[in-house]
């Protein structure tokens, strides 16, 4: 197996732009890796060999012509199957969209293509991003490269797994309540949910419009920052997009200096309910941050315990409306249209057959929460909680520069372990959800393995809106120390995959 697959994205970009290695070679090395290991990992739903090699060849042509390349030109990437890709299937992990080929590219995809990033294919996910384990994909689960019996997190388990299995150095995820950060945490990779509005949602198939945000996944902080800089920025096609300069995440990722910073530990995100090894690694990180010259203080965010409940009213409410369009009339799978049934019957049968149980559960929850007579008690109350959460963050950021917590309460659990217990599944996101509720940027950074199971633990870093650069500065500072301590990337500790 080519050693190209273990290289960082920034290094690969350098090799390609200098002409030392062709982008086609890089793409082929990753396609070979996918062919070798993805049968076991199942990170990809669709591999676009032809398209990947063609865009790699286009980069090589530019290299030959001496054209200036963008920072990640020629670097391969796995794209979560929730972003619309012109000419490539986009299923959102659902049968209801099986066979649908979008006629347009999401803005993120356009930016990736313009940057010469090579899209290897579409990665697996919980159906419509509803889940924390990728077990809710209609096309079968993705397996964690650290232990194939375990989940790679969710909903973006395909993206985190393809990065940590060395199938791609980069991936795009989307994060509604933790779907970038929690998968990053349980696979030992880095993932960032940018500020809401920092990355265009145009072409991101909506789960919960007020919470969804696409973001970068990679194996280190700098690569994540480079990808962040490629996809971020104002988009007139997305009304909720923020029209102001993108924070300088690349410089921050290169700086890594937290001397004199104030770091807040969120009292409500930790302690009881968190796995012992998660807590011990988190405490070590706190000590490390202090040793780097930052001041660490405890911060209380009293409304956070209500965040999960409020989230599970707002998300299903918005989702019930966003997912109404999947009726088989204009696109996607149509079921039951035998010429004898009414349009209502066909729509109903299409939805019943096309959606999996978790999607149906949340559509019903949301439909109920928005119903006349219940709206104020459910959706209305949840919005009030959301306001309180924002106020908690505002108060906290008046005292500190960034907040930290464990990303997820546990390391990767076993496939099937929580499938029949939705509440246990939802609790995976207890620490990540408040960040989405307030529209803030958050990062998950690997901080070691839990001693009891030798599985990765993630540190969550949270910054104020449009201060995404702080995540990278803090992340880089910690990462530098940990790499020195470990003697290399944490993913080097992951077992070799069969077939590789």
């Amino acid at each position: 197996m080519s050693d190209l697959i273990r290289k960082d994205a920034s290094e690969l970009a350098g090799l390609v732009s200098s002409g030392e290695v062709s982008a086609v070679e890089v793409a082929q090395a990753h396609l070979d890796r996918i062919a070798a290991v993805d049968g076991a990992v199942h990170a990809f739903l669709h591999v676009d060999t032809k398209g990947a090699l063609a865009s790699a060849a286009a980069v090589d042509a530019k290299v030959k012509a001496g054209e200036k390349l963008s920072v990640l030109a020629g670097v391969p990437l796995g794209l979560k199957d929730i972003l619309a890709t012109n000419g490539l299937p986009t299923t959102c992990g659902s049968k209801v969209l099986a066979g649908w080929i979008p006629p347009y590219d999401a803005t993120v995809v356009t930016k990736l293509r313009e940057a010469g990033i090579v899209i290897l294919g579409k990665t697996n996910m919980d159906e419509f991003a509803m889940g924390s384990s990728t077990e809710h994909s209609a096309f079968g689960p993705t397996h964690n490269p650290w232990d194939l019996e375990r989940i790679p997190g969710g909903s973006g388990g395909g993206s985190s797994a393809c990065v940590s299995a060395f199938e791609a150095p980069l991936a795009i995820g989307t994060d509604t309540g933790g779907s970038i950060r929690q998968p990053a945490a349980v696979t030992g990779s880095v993932g960032v949910k940018p500020t809401y509005g920092g990355v265009s949602r145009y072409g991101l198939v909506a789960l919960a419009s007020s919470l969804d945000q696409a973001g970068p996944c990679a194996r280190n902080v700098l690569d994540t920052a480079l990808l962040h800089s490629v996809i971020a920025g104002y988009d007139p096609m997305d009304s909720t997009s923020i029209n102001s300069p993108v924070p300088d995440v690349i410089s921050a990722a290169k700086r890594g200096d937290i001397k004199g910073m104030k770091v807040g530990v969120v009292k409500e995100l930790g302690g009881e309910g968190y796995q012992v090894g998660v807590r011990s690694r988190f405490e070590e990180s706190v000590a490390l941050i202090e040793s780097l010259g930052a001041e660490v203080v405890e911060v209380s965010c009293p409304s956070f315990p209500a965040a999960l409940a409020a989230y599970y009213l707002i998300l299903p409410s918005e989702a019930s409306s966003n997912l109404a369009k999947f009726d088989g009339i204009r696109f996607g799978n149509r079921v039951g249209d035998d010429g004898t049934k009414s349009v209502e019957q066909v729509m109903s049968e299409t939805r019943a057959a096309g959606f999996g149980p978790e999607v149906i559960r949340r559509i019903i929850l949301g439909t109920y929460a928005l119903s006349a007579g219940y709206y104020d008690a459910y959706y209305g109350q949840a919005q009030k909680v959301r306001t309180l959460i924002k106020q908690d963050f505002d108060a906290a950021f008046a005292k500190v520069d960034v907040l930290i917590s464990p990303t997820a309460p546990t390391t990767a659990f076993k496939i099937g372990e929580k499938l029949d217990d939705p509440l246990a599944m939802y609790l995976n996101d207890v620490a990540t959800i408040p960040v989405n509720m307030a529209g803030l940027p958050g990062m998950s950074l690997p901080i070691g393995l839990a001693p009891e199971d030798n599985l990765p633990v993630g540190l969550q870093i949270i910054a104020p809106a449009m201060a995404d650069d702080r995540l990278y500065n803090v992340g880089a500072a910690i990462e530098r120390e940990l790499l020195a301590k470990w003697g290399g990337p944490i993913l080097g500790l992951a077992p070799e995959l069969a077939g590789a």
Binding site: L83, A84, W100, A106, A206, S321, A324, K325, I329, M347
Partner: protein
């Protein structure tokens, strides 16, 4: 199946009607409310569509600023408050003509609210002004259009299959909703019609819509309920859809009054339901009942930012609102010295703006009115075209009047000159020249024509000489005919009497 009805006068003697009118106006913006697709009417099906208005997965709306501006201007023209801050909301229901299975609309935060519109109606005691209270005007998007193929009725039941055209989906709509309109008594149908007509005038004056009811760019739903007395609480209402002409608005109200009254008098209750209006038969039939009405599960649209129109912007827009048509008409009645009935004739003929334009160009009001409500209306009617589409300019009428006042043309020749203009032969002077239109002022040809006429009818000269001067008419007529209208009739008469030695 037609339901029982009660004679209208009897119904009104027993019950007090309460009206409510919901008018949907399609804005005349070049692009749709939330995407850049064209709004031009009549394109091939599903050619003015994109991922946004088709509701494809991942697509997002962006707001048409002109749509918001139009909504604010409509609100201002209807004496409404303009919201300091408002949002769009999603109205959720499943229907194949709705690409997203929700309509982006406004719910409890409309852009404009608390207004009124004064309308004038003819009553037994003469003209009266009636104030229609307006609850709100809000923005929303239109749906696609279903057509049901096969089956006799063109409705979904019995159809073999249905087609959907999404060209209309996403076209900006403003929905204008009245409060319950009380106190109209027997004039409910007239008030309803006058309201829609006045609204149409205002919208046309604002230039925000082409307000063509027959093309569906202005659509009206009529709500009606009856109660025992004006003091009773409101009765159960019906909502009649698809009322798409001014005449139908009046008829639909009248019909519903008679239908409700028959039910109530028979001890039945009125069913709260949506009804379909049938223009051809003049009745409404039951649609879906509202008791199993959908719960629309409104919630704020998370894909669009709230709208907070600055007060400066609102005041800028207020300055663009034209004079209220009713106020303007009252002013013109005074300026032009017309009777109210004359003005009504002018308005009903659709000639008001055309006359104003002619007067502005220097034509006397009486003359401008005579041309537009007379000859030009007749020609437009013959040709089945709109008066405003007649190719006659204010400058044409001005020149025509100048030629008449100098005696260069008489009335008959002036009409011929206008015909030439309408036929596209050029301007008035060109046509006068090319058609050789000129009053014959040389007596020689006239005397010759008089001789010819007298020779053709030898008895007439004696009749005139005997004192029956009215008989001169036939001679003058014959001379006019012989000169193809170019003679001055008064001069012909003079010459005739001179020749016969008769004095008037």
């Amino acid at each position: 199946m037609a339901e029982a009805t009660m004679n209208y006068d009897e119904a009104i003697s027993k019950f007090d009607p309460v009206l409510g009118l919901e008018v949907h106006v399609e804005l005349g913006t070049h692009t749709k409310m939330f995407c850049g697709c064209s709004t031009v009417f009549g394109a091939a099906p599903n050619t003015h569509v994109c991922p946004v208005c088709l509701g494809l997965p991942g697509a997002l709306p962006t707001l048409n600023k002109i749509g918001v501006e139009s909504a604010i201007r409509i609100g201002l023209a209807l004496n409404c408050e303009i919201a300091q801050w408002c949002r769009f909301a999603r109205k959720n229901y499943f229907y194949p003509d709705m690409p997203k299975n929700f309509q982006t609309s406004q719910y409890d935060e409309p852009i404009a609210f608390e207004g009124y519109l004064d309308v004038d109606i003819e009553t037994d005691e003469g003209q009266k002004t009636f104030r229609v209270p307006i609850e709100r005007a809000h923005m929303e998007e239109d749906t696609g259009k279903n057509s049901h193929v096969g089956g006799a009725t063109g409705r979904i039941h019995g159809a073999d299959y249905s087609l959907v055209d999404y060209n209309r989906a996403g076209i900006p709509l403003i929905e204008i909703v009245t409060k319950p309109i009380t106190g109209t008594g027997k004039y409910a149908p007239e008030v309803a019609k006058a309201y829609v007509a006045a609204l149409r005038d205002i919208l046309r004056g604002l230039g925000v819509s082409d307000v063509k009811m027959e093309q569906g760019s202005l659509r009206c739903d009529v709500n009606l309920s009856l109660r025992d007395t004006p003091e009773s609480k409101l009765g159960t209402r019906s909502e009649t859809k698809n009322v798409n002409s001014l005449r139908s608005v009046e008829r639909a109200v009248r019909y519903e009054v008679t239908r409700h009254a028959a039910r109530l008098a028979a001890g039945d209750t009125v069913i709260q339901e949506t009804r379909h209006w049938h223009e051809d038969t003049g009745i409404s039939t039951s649609g879906r009942t509202k008791s199993d009405a959908e719960d629309y599960r409104y919630f704020p649209e998370p894909d669009l930012l709230p709208i907070a129109p600055s007060r400066e912007w609102v005041e800028e827009l207020r300055a663009t609102i034209p004079e209220n048509p009713a106020v303007r008409r009252a002013r013109l009645v005074a300026d032009w010295g017309l009777s109210q009935i004359d003005m009504n004739t002018v308005v009903n003929s659709g000639a008001l703006d055309l006359i104003v334009d002619a007067v502005d160009a220097g034509v006397e009001p009486a003359a401008a009115r005579k041309w537009w409500t007379g000859e030009l209306s007749r020609i437009a009617n013959d040709r089945a075209i709109e008066l405003e589409d007649m190719p006659v300019t204010p400058a044409d009428l001005k020149r025509l009047e100048e030629l008449i006042s100098t005696g260069a043309l008489n009335d008959k020749l002036a009409r011929q000159a206008l015909e030439g203009v309408i036929a596209g032969e050029g301007d008035i002077d060109t046509i006068v020249k090319s058609r050789g239109l000129a009053v014959v002022s040389d007596d020689g040809p006239l005397l010759a024509a008089i001789d010819d006429a007298l020779a053709a009818d030898p008895a007439v000269a004696e009749t005139i000489k005997s004192g029956k001067l009215a008989a001169a008419g036939s001679v003058v007529g014959a001379v006019m005919k012989a000169t193809r209208g170019q003679a001055d009739a008064a001069r012909v008469r003079e010459l005739l009497f001179e020749k016969l030695g008769v004095s008037e």
